[in-house]
């Protein structure tokens, strides 16, 4: 699997996600600067976490108009998979690659903690190594992860199975007590309609080694390697 990781000014998890990809695929991804307008021929495009452009205006708003984004949109339209994590999710939401938007956490505090997620479907490039309904533990680290989408669109997301992950309790309950930011319907990650683009707030790339608090995120990258190699 050949991957490209996009580097924006102000992001800080690009090396973590590149390491996760290298560990699972055996290939170091290409690091592509946001000011470039060309992408190498790759099987996967990844936008990682951080604070692109200092979160000016709205988180992800500036980055969504970077030169490289036109090419990413073109590739995504052709079906090249795109993974946006944390700030990457905010960027691809601003760019219109996935529906909805990420607002300030409802409690107004930055949250850095392990959370539990319920995998909503195993029928995607990103989740094929998980079971539907499986509960995994991965960390979040964000101030603006409060997912919002208009009610009509929310229903469409549900009907089309575009919700990838929901925040839950350790026991897998969706009662809201496992929701770290006020996200609508406990939504932690969503797909585009074709399920070739995934945006999620939690950091699977920071849960790939047992000695660092857990490895539940590793299967996401392994699933991508299975599907794209």
């Amino acid at each position: 699997m050949r991957a490209a990781v996009i580097v924006f000014p102000g992001i800080n998890r690009e090396v973590d996600v590149a390491n996760a990809i290298e560990m699972t695929s055996g290939r170091r991804p290409a690091m592509v600067w946001h000011g470039d307008s060309e992408l190498p021929d790759v099987d996967l495009i990844v936008i990682g976490g951080g604070f692109s452009y200092g979160d000016y205006l709205r988180c992800g708003a500036m980055a969504a108009h970077s030169p490289i984004m036109s090419e990413i949109k073109r590739r995504a339209a052709k079906g090249v998979p795109v993974l946006g994590i944390c700030n990457g999710f905010q960027i691809i939401a601003e760019a219109g690659l996935v529906p909805g938007t990420l607002m300030r956490n409802d409690h107004l505090k930055f949250v850095c903690a392990d959370v539990h997620l319920k995998v909503e479907t195993s029928q995607s490039l990103f989740t094929n190594r998980y079971q539907a309904g499986q509960v995994i533990k991965v960390p979040v680290a964000h101030g603006e992860g409060n997912y919002f989408v208009e009610p009509n669109m929310l229903k469409r997301l549900e009907d089309r199975g575009q919700i990838a992950f929901r925040y839950c309790t350790a026991a897998g309950e969706l009662d809201g007590s496992g929701n770290p930011n006020g996200s609508q319907d406990n939504i932690a990650g969503v797909f585009n309609e074709a399920k070739t683009v995934l945006g999620l707030m939690p950091h699977p790339e920071n849960a790939i080694e047992a000695q660092f608090g857990g490895s539940d995120g590793k299967a996401l990258f392994e699933g991508l390697v299975d599907a794209l190699s």
């Binding site: 108009h65 909805g100 409802d106 409690h107 107004l108 919002f148």
Partner: protein, 80 residues
């Protein structure tokens, strides 16, 4: 030409910052304060002199960058 753009959260969209400001005002003794909504104010200088053209361009700026129309409304004020 100068333009002022006001960006506000749509009704029905929770505004936790506005709520926190309201709570702080209550603590300061401003008991008359009801709901508080926070927004953004952007002032721009524009070249050209045609008001209609400017309005159209500003509308496009708002839709493409300045506002996120999933959650925000915007209004444009033009000053000669």
């Amino acid at each position: 030409m100068k333009a002022r753009v006001h960006i506000t959260l749509k009704h029905g969209v929770l505004d936790p910052q506005g709520k926190a400001i309201g709570n702080a005002l209550h603590r300061l003794g401003f008991a008359e304060v009801g709901e508080v909504r926070q927004g953004k104010f952007i002032e721009l200088e524009l070249g050209g002199s045609d008001v209609e053209t400017a309005r159209g361009r500003l509308d496009e700026m708002c839709r493409r960058l300045l506002a996120n129309t999933v959650i925000e409304n915007y209004s444009i004020e033009l000053l000669a």
